[in-house]
Symmetry: C2
Subunit: 116 residues, 2 copies
């Protein structure tokens, strides 16, 4: 593992990378991570979704800790949709099926922390 080192950076300096075909309109910025920053447990990412875009629909053993920064959207957790917007916190435990969608007209932006 990279030795942990102090980092101060505006989020916009991290490249906005396409997540893939299963998450159309969505990109991810890795703000703090294990490989480059030596974060020992958790990576902090920013997910940006264009209107109509969505994140991956999946379940995995690790949890997500999310904080919505801007925009309007909804999150599917197992079989129920929930409206979310700026200032909402979403904790998704491991092994829980989930996906986010941008249901608004502007960019939907959230932080997503996970042990990756």
């Amino acid at each position: 593992m990279t030795q942990a080192k102090t980092k101060i950076m505006h989020y916009s300096k991290a490249p906005s990378l396409p997540i893939g075909d299963s998450a159309p309109g969505s990109t991810m910025r890795w703000l703090i991570d294990r490989k480059n920053d030596g974060a020992p447990l958790y990576s902090l990412r920013m997910v940006e979704m264009r209107p109509g875009g969505n994140s991956l629909k999946h379940a995995h053993a690790y949890e997500h800790e999310n904080f919505v920064l801007s925009g309007k959207g909804r999150v599917l957790i197992e079989d129920a949709w929930h409206e979310v917007g700026a200032g909402d916190v979403v904790f998704i435990p491991g092994d829980v099926l989930h996906t986010f969608e941008n249901t608004g007209d502007e960019l939907f932006v959230m932080l997503c922390a996970a042990p990756l």
Copy 2:
């Protein structure tokens, strides 16, 4: 440990608790934590500082992953101050001396994730 359970909540629903005499003007909201939510590794907190306020000046074995939401401030890391504002990411590895101060005229608000 509490069994992890899904949580969707606006941050304002979490009480804003004084941090203590060593962090004047600063309060903390526990948004996702181990005790109540069963977060297995990391807690997500929101720190709010009034103008002139500061966070604890300390070093500890665990890291911080911070994201500044609003306001203007500065962070001391070891012996150097760095200006920070909305959208800035700050990663403070374990055992690094640090404190934040609000140097602006408005509330300084940041997320602070840590393995607590």
